[in-house]
């Protein structure tokens, strides 16, 4: 084996782009390990754990660690790395006047200058590392722009400060840890392709919002705007600051006929604050928790209020002979492996037993990408399950893995081969770039039972475990 370890001082690329480069290098013939990452403590630790001799670095350096079967393979990989990084540099560098802005503040000015008459930018989407997100978001608010903070690991004091400043300026802070928004038809972050329509959604939950809007879309009902507010907005500390603003804005929006509020279990005082706004527009709430409507039930309520029929939510039962089907019982506990926090909570409430992990939680995303982009940790966990029932979510849409079943379906097949029953909650729409039906078919063929309603998926998983207990 041949190792190449290189530290390039002062070269910066974002973590997701580097991950894609690493993946491409690892796929080259003869290459067994390829780590191309910023030299954070975590990444240096990973490289050292993998046996690379990494010299002293600072987090501002780029770390390259490649292991391959021959010198030639290492050289090939290094050349490919340089080609890919050079392509990124070329895209990012321009001489003279056309240099790209370096801060959100400067970008807001450039947008205002560039588009005479168009009024410049309308919103900023911030996904820089959490410790720096406040700076970019503060720029946006100062420039009079609403901002979606996709970044997580942002301190709550900074969130409160930003939301208070935004209220003074008449703009909205969506986030931090806001995974999705659809504004004026543009999907930001992880966003499903939705038809336009009368339902406005306010969501303190990214995947919860994706579930309700996808189901609405499957029922033929469109969305005016989907305003994420960040998972912590309805906590006691933040007090629904952004949810209140978002609800009022949708109340004043002529295109919105009904508002659906989705949240992870809220603090009681925050829940009261948002309920007592005296809106003129009908409000349906899905505030998750024991004894509350699940997301699917909330969608059905919305359909009822609009006088629309509730369809049979599409699902694909596990193929005959797969674990969990008649004559092929599975043994063992229920294991929930989720990428969406709200979906995870909802499933755990419905299942009432089992061990649930939310791989999108801050604890798992520090120094790495969200599981909807990088499935590695979750796939490892799936491969480690030896028996019982596995319940997991797959979320489609812009921003998410362009073909999640490509890596997941083989792992599902392996699990089924070990006698593990696999149940998938597939969140997406017909319009999503990944193709709802194509993804469902591949996961189903691999042996999974697939549901478009997470609640239905959770009930099915619960029943599988219960059936085993009764038999």
């Amino acid at each position: 084996m041949n190792d190449l370890v290189e530290v390039r001082a002062g070269v910066y690329h974002d973590s997701v782009s580097l991950m894609r480069v690493s993946q491409a290098l690892a796929a080259l013939p003869g290459v067994s390990v390829a780590i191309v990452a910023m030299a954070t403590e975590l990444n240096v630790g990973l490289a050292r754990d993998a046996g690379f001799a990494v010299p002293a670095t600072t987090p501002g350096d780029l770390l390259v660690a490649i292991r391959a079967s021959s010198d030639d393979a290492v050289r090939e990989a290094a050349a490919e790395l340089d080609r890919r990084l050079a392509a990124r540099e070329a895209a990012g560098t321009a001489r003279g006047e056309d240099r790209p802005p370096r801060t959100t503040r400067s970008a807001a000015r450039a947008a205002a200058r560039g588009a005479a008459g168009s009024g410049g930018a309308t919103i900023a989407l911030v996904s820089v590392p959490g410790e720096c997100a406040f700076l970019e978001a503060a720029d946006a608010v100062e420039a009079g722009l609403s901002v979606m903070i996709f970044s997580d690991n942002v301190p709550v004091e900074q969130e409160i400060l930003l939301k208070d400043r935004a209220r003074e300026k008449g703009v909205l802070v969506m986030g931090p840890d806001c995974g999705t928004a659809v504004i004026g038809g543009a999907g930001l972050g992880f966003a499903n392709v939705l038809r336009p329509g009368p339902v406005g959604v306010v969501a303190a939950s990214g995947t919860g919002a994706q579930q309700v809007t996808s189901l609405l879309d499957l029922a033929g009902v469109g969305v005016s705007h989907l305003l994420g507010v960040g998972g912590r907005d309805l906590s006691a500390e933040v007090g629904g600051r952004s949810a209140i603003q978002a609800l009022r804005a949708l109340d004043a929006d002529p295109a919105t006929e009904l508002i659906l509020l989705v949240s992870k279990p809220p603090a009681p005082e925050a829940a009261d604050a948002v309920r007592d706004l005296g809106l003129g527009t009908k409000l349906v709430t899905a505030l998750l928790g024991p004894g509350q409507d699940d997301l699917t039930a909330a969608v059905e309520k919305v359909l009822g209020a609009l006088g629309r029929e509730v369809p049979a939510w599409p699902s694909w039962p596990a193929p005959p002979g797969a674990p969990g089907t008649p004559g092929s019982e599975c043994r063992g506990p229920l294991r929930g492996l989720y990428s969406g926090g709200t979906l995870c909570t909802e499933a755990a409430v419905i299942a009432r037993s089992g061990e649930f992990t939310d791989f999108g939680d801050d604890a798992y995303t520090r120094g790495r990408a969200h599981p909807m982009i990088d499935p590695a940790l979750r796939l490892e966990a799936l491969d480690a399950v030896e028996s019982g029932v596995v319940l997991l979510d797959v979320v489609l849409g812009h921003g998410a893995d362009p073909d999640p079943s490509a890596r997941l379906a083989p792992a599902v097949a392996r699990a089924c081969g070990r006698g593990v029953a696999v149940v998938v909650a597939l969140v997406g729409t017909e319009g999503d770039p990944q193709g709802l039906h194509a993804q469902a078919a591949r996961l189903n063929e691999a042996g999974a039972a697939v549901f478009t309603s997470n609640a239905a998926a959770a009930r099915h998983a619960r029943d599988l475990v219960a059936a085993r207990v009764h038999s």
């Binding site: 974002d14 997701v16 782009s17 600072t58 501002g60 990012g92 006047e97 240099r99 790209p100 802005p101 370096r102 801060t103 959100t104 503040r105 970008a107 807001a108 947008a111 560039g114 168009s118 009024g119 410049g120 930018a121 309308t122 919103i123 900023a124 989407l125 911030v126 996904s127 820089v128 590392p129 410790e131 720096c132 406040f134 700076l135 503060a138 609403s146 970044s151 900074q158 209220r167 003074e168 008449g170 703009v171 909205l172 504004i183 004026g184 038809g185 543009a186 999907g187 930001l188 972050g189 966003a191 705007h225 603003q245 009022r248 804005a249 004043a252 929006d253 982009i373 812009h398 921003g399």
Partner: protein
């Protein structure tokens, strides 16, 4: 629904509507490239930020600085004062008169420095000033007295509303340009420019240097004072604005500004001092940098107008003494934040080379502090060789400065950038966030006292001066 609501205490609240809901989406993206590409796939208008992490170790201090509730308004106030200043040249008078300097007191460029730490050109200029003031019989005698320090006081020009190019040494008998701010009422001072070659500001102290200083005090200063008394104040804001459109950046190129100044003053010089008019005008004409000192005083009075706004992170002074590069910040009073002065990267005169150069020196960085000099490089294509070769480099230098500045100057415009205002008002938080240091054009002094100018070029300030100021902001 209603557009204005009141909160439970009856206070009017902001409109509930959000403009983004009714406008065509245009998204600024900062961070993960993937999320930007997802917008591109939807054909959504987008402005991408070329985001990189801030200078290592500054993230916490930056968050604290941006959380300061005073900052936004304080910076708007401070930079608003800087760009609204209306500097006018109102007189030319001896330093002892306008600054109250006592014999034995010498002002110098940059942050305060002792004789022990002073570089060659600084020492040379102080020796020359001792000889000029008659406080020493020979250079050796001057050096001994300066080293002993008895009866000698050294202080920073900036502590006396004064700036000086290169060594920037000011002694009581030197004649000073007096600039007043018609908008805010401040005043600032700068010595008269001696010309090029062997001159005091580059540390030369030979007999011809002292003799020239005497002539400037006996003839040049009084003639200019008399001319100004006759013609009335000279509007430097208007003159600088015109010079920028004539290819000056007002630091390394002052040819247009000097020409304009001569045009303005010549008739009055002839009327006020007919006996000396020819030699005075010939002297000014012979020195393309004669205007530099007036421009520096104009910059100083503008920068001083922006001082002492609590919570402001605006840089109000950048200055070098040949050993240290120091900055001062509006919200941090008179404190200096320093780092080592670097040797400029530039072009050298004759047989001189980098080995002959002294580290960066002079108060002329007050021009960059107020958006001129390196910041206005795009206005001066004639001197692009200093910044690496071609006009695109000059445009890039100016364009990159918009990233670290708070405003665009309403009067100082750059024709080649579509008459966009110069980038003005350096914000220490933006320097730390972007890792972009101010672009500084400068002359290069010889390392050895008495050598004079050896070249001109570009220099980078030390980042640590900016990060130290940033850290201090969180305690201020």
């Amino acid at each position: 629904m209603s557009a204005i609501r009141t909160d439970p205490e009856g206070r009017a609240m902001n409109p509930t509507t959000l403009s983004m809901l009714s406008r065509e989406p245009h998204v600024i993206t900062a961070g993960t490239a993937l999320l930007g590409e997802a917008l591109d796939q939807q054909a959504v208008a987008r402005t991408d930020v070329d985001w990189r992490p801030p200078v290592p170790g500054t993230a916490a201090a930056l968050a604290a600085a941006l959380a300061d509730p005073r900052r936004e308004r304080a910076n708007a106030t401070a930079v608003g004062r800087m760009v609204s200043a209306r500097p006018r040249l109102v007189g030319v008078r001896p330093a002892r008169e306008v600054l109250g300097l006592e014999p034995g007191t010498f002002l110098h460029a940059g942050p305060p420095i002792s004789w022990e730490r002073a570089s060659g050109p600084m020492r040379g200029a102080l020796i020359g000033a001792m000889l000029f003031e008659g406080l020493a019989s020979s250079p050796e005698d001057a050096e001994e007295r300066l080293a002993a320090g008895s009866g000698i006081t050294l202080d920073s020009c900036h502590h006396h509303r004064t700036v000086g190019p290169m060594a920037g040494v000011v002694s009581p008998s030197m004649w000073m340009l007096e600039v007043a701010d018609a908008e805010h009422g401040g005043a600032a001072y700068c010595s008269l420019n001696e010309g090029l070659g062997k001159v005091l500001r580059y540390g030369a102290y030979g007999p011809e240097v002292v003799e020239r200083l005497r002539w400037m005090g006996d003839v040049l200063g009084p003639a200019l004072q008399a001319a100004l008394a006759l013609s009335g104040p000279l509007d430097l804001r208007a003159l600088i604005a015109q010079a920028l459109q004539m290819g000056d950046e007002l630091h390394n190129r002052n040819r247009a500004a000097t020409s304009l100044m001569v045009r303005e003053l010549a008739p009055a010089v002839v009327e006020a001092a007919p006996g000396h008019a020819a030699e005075v005008l010939r002297f000014i004409n012979g020195n393309d940098h004669f205007f530099l000192n007036a421009g520096m005083a104009a910059a100083k009075v503008s920068a001083d107008a922006a001082r002492d706004v609590p919570g402001s992170s605006l840089v109000v002074a950048m200055a070098r003494n040949g050993t240290d590069f120091g900055i001062q910040v509006s919200g941090l009073g008179d404190r200096w934040f320093t780092g080592p002065a670097e040797v400029p990267d530039g072009l050298y005169l004759g047989a001189y080379g980098p080995g002959d150069a002294n580290p960066d020196i002079g108060d002329s960085t007050i021009t960059e502090t107020t958006g001129l000099g390196g910041f206005a490089m795009a206005a001066a294509p004639a001197i692009v060789r200093f910044v690496g070769g071609d006009v695109a480099d000059a445009v890039a230098a100016t364009t990159s400065m918009y990233e670290i500045t708070l405003a665009e100057h309403p009067a100082y415009q750059i024709p080649g950038l579509g008459f966009r205002g110069t980038p003005v008002g350096i914000d220490v938080t933006l320097v730390a966030r972007t890792g972009t240091l101010p672009v500084v054009n400068t002359g290069i002094a010889g390392r050895v006292a008495g050598t004079g100018q050896v070249g001109a070029g570009l220099v980078s300030p030390p980042m640590e001066a900016f990060t130290a100021a940033l850290a201090a902001l969180t305690d201020a």
